[in-house]
């Protein structure tokens, strides 16, 4: 996973509330057995017309965002709905590495961390300020080490972020590889649980 430190970009303003995972990536595209190539279908109902033609009117497809914006400014409860990791895969495939919103749905936010996407929750007025910067074509900078966002006019906003997730993102760690180092602790847990709740192990041979 790519390491995350700072990111500078004109952010894409998409401040709609309750954007669900079916909007981010509709179910028919979940039939893939790969993680890549979902970007063209991302936000399909927003970007394509009834005939399946890309309208070019959606913010994602307009200058100066298309092909270069790496920061998405979203609305409240972004990513609600299903657990499909295809949602962050699609967003990654579009080129985004950071999403800023008033709040995120839990599973979506967790899926983002695993894919190196930084999700930042800040107050609505901060989101509005940054969305306006995006609308005006101004760059903003997200700095994970100092947990700050620099907007226009030198405005600095700080944000909270879980320290464990911060370490993961900044080091681009293989989480599974790390957990496997705790194999002994996992085995010890299982041995203990097998004594107290043997019925949970009826199927193990």
């Amino acid at each position: 996973m790519e390491k995350f430190e700072t990111l500078t970009s004109v952010p894409t303003p998409f401040p709609q509330d309750n954007v669900d995972t079916d909007i981010i990536i509709p179910a028919p595209y979940l039939k893939t057995i790969k993680r890549t190539g979902l970007g063209i279908h991302a936000f399909e109902t927003v970007r394509y017309d009834d005939q399946g033609q890309l309208t070019g009117d959606a913010v994602f497809d307009r200058e100066p965002y298309v092909g270069s914006s790496t920061i998405l400014i979203a609305g409240d409860n972004f990513g609600c709905g299903s657990s499909r990791e295809h949602a962050p895969w699609a967003i990654t495939d579009m080129g985004y590495r950071c999403i800023i919103a008033p709040s995120f749905a839990d599973i979506f936010a967790s899926n983002c961390v695993k894919n190196g996407i930084l999700t930042i929750s800040v107050d609505q007025d901060v989101v509005d300020y940054l969305a306006a910067d995006g609308g005006n074509g101004l760059e903003i900078t997200v700095d994970l080490p100092s947990q700050t966002i620099r907007g226009s006019n030198g405005k600095i906003f700080s944000f909270d972020f879980n320290p464990v997730h911060k370490t993961m993102l900044m080091n681009g760690l293989d989480e599974i590889g790390q957990t496997l180092e705790s194999a002994d602790a996992i085995s010890a847990f299982e041995a203990k649980q097998k004594l107290s709740q043997p019925w949970l192990y009826n199927r193990d041979v």
Partner: protein, 471 residues
């Protein structure tokens, strides 16, 4: 210090505390299906890793499976490929698999409980947000993404952040004609789709105790629609009776110890919850959603709202958009909304009790002439068999409904069961998102009784006033 049920199950599964509310949590049960697992298996392969504990996993195909003509090849090549990938992976990695031809095959969240895999106090995951369903048994069950599936495959653990505790207390008697679905929708209407974000919901109160296991599953299923990754109900005799004798249940010599452990899981009387919500069940009336978020819900006796009914500018805009997409006019009565299709099924409402509830309304009636298709899709082969033993299939077929094989069906547009652009569905599923049941489809979420009642009347109707022909 007093503890909630969630606190207790969490503590009992901590392998390592990593600080800042994060811990490595042991996972007891893992359900997989064809849609979210292929990339996780691929991840294992790329790193040369194996499954830590295959005995904890069951695989069932559900999202892509056709609900009719199963002897024919799958009509969609990419669905077929995804299903074939699961067939291949379960063999390569040694996972117990319940194929389409097995009578136990069904929607993962129907199959898990039927196997007795779902038990109080277990941690249970699946790459599907409706895994919250299993909390009905007092399990800590939640949906995960594919990276977490892979993590769980390799380590039988997940690195999780502890959630906050929320309690939704529902006291009083649920009126006749209302069911757990109406309760779930009423709760979401009250707290909103973000109301439970960051929390695990425990449902408590006399109305919850009165619910059957099926009803509790419906309620916990929709916790995610309120933003909560898990919902749970304290286990009781109903829970124990449901589990007893099932394939994965504790054996005779283990049963008493298991039950006494299960009884110890209930939240302590003086446990403190971060958030409390209360509802009176007797106030609940049959619910119908009108918009593109499950929180867009009103009683069947109500009207489609106007954007100006809402204070915030963003909500006003969202309402305006939803009314346009849904083809509705502000102020029109819910009962005036004509429907084109009926769908009774999904992990929310496809269990035997749901089918009985629907059949009681349908008995001796016919669906309205203009209905394009009315599907009854049992949640598993076992539910289907049980319903057929009770003669429910005959009741549905005589009324003009189709009687299908088990699967996710029209809940989401991944298999042949879809609604066309502009078509309006009275649906017992869980999400009314834009395009959820097919591009341009219009979904109204309702209970099984309300869905079939709408099919008979041709428009939404208060099932309490519809003559059911029953005494």
């Amino acid at each position: 210090m007093p503890h909630t049920m969630y606190d207790k199950i969490w503590s009992d599964h901590v392998v390592e505390d990593r600080g800042d509310g994060i811990a490595l949590i042991y996972i007891d049960r893992h359900l997989i299906h064809e849609v979210t697992s292929p990339q996780a298996f691929e991840g294992l392969r790329l790193k040369g890793r194996t499954l830590r504990r295959p005995a904890a996993i069951i695989a069932v195909p559900d999202h892509n499976v056709p609900t009719k003509d199963r002897h024919m090849p799958n009509p969609d090549a990419s669905s077929a490929e995804q299903l074939a990938e699961l067939d291949k992976n379960v063999v390569a990695f040694g996972v117990e698999f319940i194929p389409m031809s097995d009578v136990r095959q069904g929607i993962v969240h129907v199959t898990g409980p039927e196997l007795g895999m779902t038990q109080p106090g277990v941690t249970m995951v699946c790459g599907d947000s409706h895994t919250s369903t299993h909390g009905a048994f007092g399990a800590l069950a939640f949906g995960i993404g594919t990276s977490e599936i892979e993590h769980c495959f390799a380590t039988q653990t997940l690195l999780l952040k502890r959630a906050k505790n929320m309690r939704v207390t529902v006291d009083g008697k649920l009126p006749i004609g209302c069911s757990a679905k109406d309760m779930a929708l009423a709760i979401i209407g009250k707290i909103g789709t973000g109301g439970g974000t960051g929390h695990v919901i425990e449902y408590a109160g006399s109305a919850i105790r009165d619910l059957s296991m099926e009803g509790r599953m419906t309620l916990c299923n929709m916790s995610i629609e309120a933003g909560a990754r898990s919902g749970m109900v304290s286990p009781d005799e109903k829970t124990f009776n449901y589990i007893r004798g099932r394939e994965w249940a504790p054996k005779a010599g283990q049963w008493d110890v298991a039950v006494s452990y299960w009884k110890s899981l209930a939240s302590d009387g003086d446990a403190v919850f971060d958030k409390e919500v209360t509802l009176d069940a007797s106030d609940i009336v049959p619910q119908v959603t009108w918009g593109n978020s499950p929180e867009d819900v009103v009683p069947v006796t109500g009207h489609v709202p106007a954007p100006t009914d809402y204070a915030s500018a963003s909500k006003q805009k969202a309402v305006e958009k939803s009314l346009y997409y849904m083809g509705l006019t502000a102020g029109q009565s819910i009962e005036s909304i004509k429907i084109d299709r009926v769908f009774v099924g999904s992990c929310t409402n496809s269990r035997i009790e749901d089918l009985r509830e629907a059949a009681a309304v349908v008995k001796g009636k016919k669906i309205a002439d203009h209905i394009i298709e009315a599907l009854i899709v049992p949640g598993s082969g076992l539910v289907k068999l049980q319903a057929e033993e009770e003669g429910l299939d005959e009741i549905f077929l005589e009324a003009g409904f189709e009687w299908r094989e088990a699967g996710c069906s029209m809940c989401l547009g991944m298999n042949p069961d879809k609604a066309g652009p502009g078509e309006r569905v009275a649906s017992t599923s869980n999400r009314n998102f834009v395009g959820r049941q097919g591009a341009g489809s219009r979904t109204h979420l309702v209970s099984p009784a309300m869905a079939v009642a709408a099919g008979i009347a041709g428009h939404f109707v208060d099932v309490r006033t519809l003559d059911t022909g029953e005494a």
